[in-house]
């Protein structure tokens, strides 16, 4: 089953990436073939005709709607998580200090994530709650649980099947940034979205 489904899934995901206009770092290769706009225009009469491209390039001139972006959807789940985060298909929600309410930015991030998740219904999702290290261990585990569930509930209200989503709180146990600056603390206060099979 899996062998048959995967190519289909890949195509589906590319389509999704295009449809939803997600932020993408993939470059579109610029057209470098000869510009044949001259065929119906005046001027450039001295240009030596390029016999190899005259006929075949007509299609480009007529129809530019088949431009495409090709991105590889990693089959390895770990690699997929990395790529999905890098390209912004899946975005984490960040929190203020000792808070478990979603800011406008956090809601926006989860909205983007929900779109991708709804269009890729085969993946499970784990929402990890994380805290900065300034509190106490046990309280932060509870706070992380609250953050993870707030994010889960929001994804559910956006139409992601909550049965796909599991939560886990790591409190301050697995910081993303071990520093003690405000930016480090900010990085560590989040609901982190992790795709699974």
């Amino acid at each position: 089953m899996n062998i048959i489904r995967k190519p289909f899934l890949l195509v589906l995901m590319v389509a999704v990436a295009l449809t939803f206009g997600c932020r993408t770092k993939t470059k579109v290769t610029p057209k470098t073939t000869p510009d044949n706009t001259s065929s119906d225009s005046v001027g450039d009469v001295n240009t030596t005709p390029d016999m190899t491209s005259t006929v075949s390039d007509r299609a480009d001139f007529v129809d530019e709607n088949d431009r495409m972006v090709e991105e590889t959807i990693p089959s390895d789940i770990g690699e997929l998580n990395k790529v999905a985060q890098e390209r912004g298909w899946i975005r984490d929600a960040y929190f203020d200090y000792d808070e478990a309410t979603l800011s406008a930015e956090a809601q926006e991030a989860l909205t983007v994530s929900a779109s991708w998740l709804k269009n890729n219904p085969t993946y499970a999702l784990t929402v990890e709650g994380h805290c900065d290290s300034r509190g106490t261990e046990q309280y932060n585990l509870a706070l992380g649980d609250r953050r993870a569930n707030v994010a889960k509930d929001y994804l559910a209200t956006l139409g992601v099947d909550s049965g796909r989503i599991r939560t886990v709180s790591y409190g301050e146990e697995r910081p993303f940034d071990s520093g003690t600056s405000d930016e480090s603390y900010h990085q560590n206060r989040r609901a982190h979205l992790v795709l699974g099979r």
Binding site: G135, T136, E137, Q138, Y139, L141, A142, R147, E173
Partner: protein
């Protein structure tokens, strides 16, 4: 650690003398001062300070063929460390080249003489210990112990426990153990050590995050949280590391587990839809009950020693504070009012005091409160100091501190003296002190 392990009886007795002097001075000063300081003085029982028993406890008399080095390391060093730690005895050194005797002890100023004799029989060591009253020359206590070389330290702790029990009627803590979490082998795992930091060993190997171990009332089991399955779950394991079982709570989070004093239940923090509350589950896995029902965060439950109350942390007023409720969940009252972050409440063994982690000026400190009066005091120290746990005799506390740049466990007497570092390897947190085991 090396220095601490090889401490001689001489240095121990000097330490004790200084300590006795310090207490005497403190008491004198305090008696002239106002009630604010008497809050601290209340923890120092004057009768204890003046009643240090001057004891001569010389190196054992060895039968032919018994290796002195083995006896020193396995038996004599732990015995003298125990006596020095007891806050009951002051060790009186006997002059060298004089055979230990009741008379020699008396001349050296001791009122008690601990005579020990060590012999071997096959692979077994036999210790005979006799406690003499110097004045009357009578034997107050006589015990005989036998066991292989690995049991020598246990024999030493047992002798010390017997001596403590003889003088103050309460069992000593010298066979008690501390369970804790350490990263020394990579991930956070659960470890054990003897009360003095010796004999540190790992009892879990989840290869995952394991947290907050707590003893069963009989000292035979440890309950803790681990992420071994990817989610946080409650496990119970024998103290030697075997017989592990997982408690199916049916709810999420599953942190801060703690046995009830009758061992029937485990209190823990469960969560349904992101609402952490205090729950109970039978320690055999039966019947989950919810004790708190609040929209705020409730965490870190701690049964009082008589089992009738549970202290916990709640953010219901906006910041984490310590509360106490009856064990069925009713009659909730707020206990902590100092500062904007309090957690990790721990009852003293007599139920008279609560120690907890309290934010003071951007760092955490151990605060000790008498619930009856709501008065608190701080066991101040460098760095952040968190997660207090009481010794079974209530005279000292073990806690974690990052004062050295890493999280290490320290023991301190509750009057703020006798600070002693227990761990050195890795990051060490979440200590829990066993009940007294014999």
């Amino acid at each position: 650690m090396a220095d601490q392990k090889t401490g001689s009886s001489t240095s121990a007795s000097i330490l004790l003398s200084l300590r006795a002097l310090a207490i005497a001075v403190t008491l004198t000063v305090l008696s002239m001062q106002t009630s604010a300081q008497q809050e601290v003085a209340a923890d120092i029982d004057p009768s204890k300070a003046v009643s240090l028993v001057k004891i001569a406890a010389p190196f054992p008399q060895l039968a032919a063929g018994v290796a002195a080095g083995t006896v020193q390391q396995g038996f004599f060093s732990p015995l003298t460390r125990d006596l020095a730690f007891s806050e009951i005895f002051q060790i009186v050194p006997l002059p060298p080249n004089v055979p230990p005797s009741v008379e020699a002890s008396g001349r050296a100023g001791a009122t008690a003489f601990l005579k020990t004799d060590m012999s071997t029989e096959g692979e077994e060591y036999i210790v005979e210990a006799r406690l003499y009253d110097v004045k009357s020359r009578t034997i107050l206590l006589g015990k005989r112990y036998r066991g292989k070389v690995g049991a020598l330290t246990r024999m030493a702790h047992t002798v010390a426990n017997d001596l403590v029990r003889y003088y103050n009627g309460k069992p000593g803590i010298f066979l008690s153990q501390i369970t804790f979490v350490s990263t020394r082998d990579g991930q956070k795992e659960v470890y054990l050590m003897d009360f003095d930091g010796s004999n540190q060993r790992r009892i879990t190997s989840h290869g995952s995050i394991s947290l907050s171990p707590e003893w069963s009332p009989d000292g035979e089991q440890i309950v803790y949280t681990s992420f071994a399955r990817g989610t946080s779950d409650i496990y119970i394991v024998n103290r030697r590391g075997g017989g592990r079982k997982r408690l199916e709570t049916g709810v999420g989070l599953n942190i801060s587990p703690m046995f009830s004093p009758d061992a029937r239940d485990v209190a823990f923090v469960g969560s349904v839809r992101g609402n952490p509350d205090i729950y109970l589950i039978g320690s055999n896995g039966s019947e989950v009950r919810r004790l708190t029902n609040s929209n705020s965060i409730e965490t870190t439950p701690a049964f009082s020693p008589n089992g009738r109350q549970i202290a916990f942390t709640s953010s219901r007023t906006g910041t984490p504070q310590i509360y106490v409720m009856d064990a069925e969940g009713s009659n909730v009252r707020r206990m902590s009012f100092d500062g904007n972050w309090n957690d990790d409440a721990a009852w003293s063994p007599d139920g008279e005091q609560l120690a907890y982690t309290s934010r003071v000026g951007g760092k955490f400190q151990i605060r000790i409160m008498s619930p009856n009066t709501s008065r608190t005091r701080i066991l101040a120290g460098e760095g952040s100091n968190e997660q207090p746990a009481w010794a079974p005799d209530g005279r000292s506390i073990v806690f974690t501190s990052n004062r050295s740049g890493r999280w290490q466990l320290y023991r301190i007497s509750i009057d703020g003296t006798n600070l002693y570092q227990l761990t050195t390897e890795g990051q060490n947190t979440a200590p829990s002190w066993s009940p007294t085991v014999q």
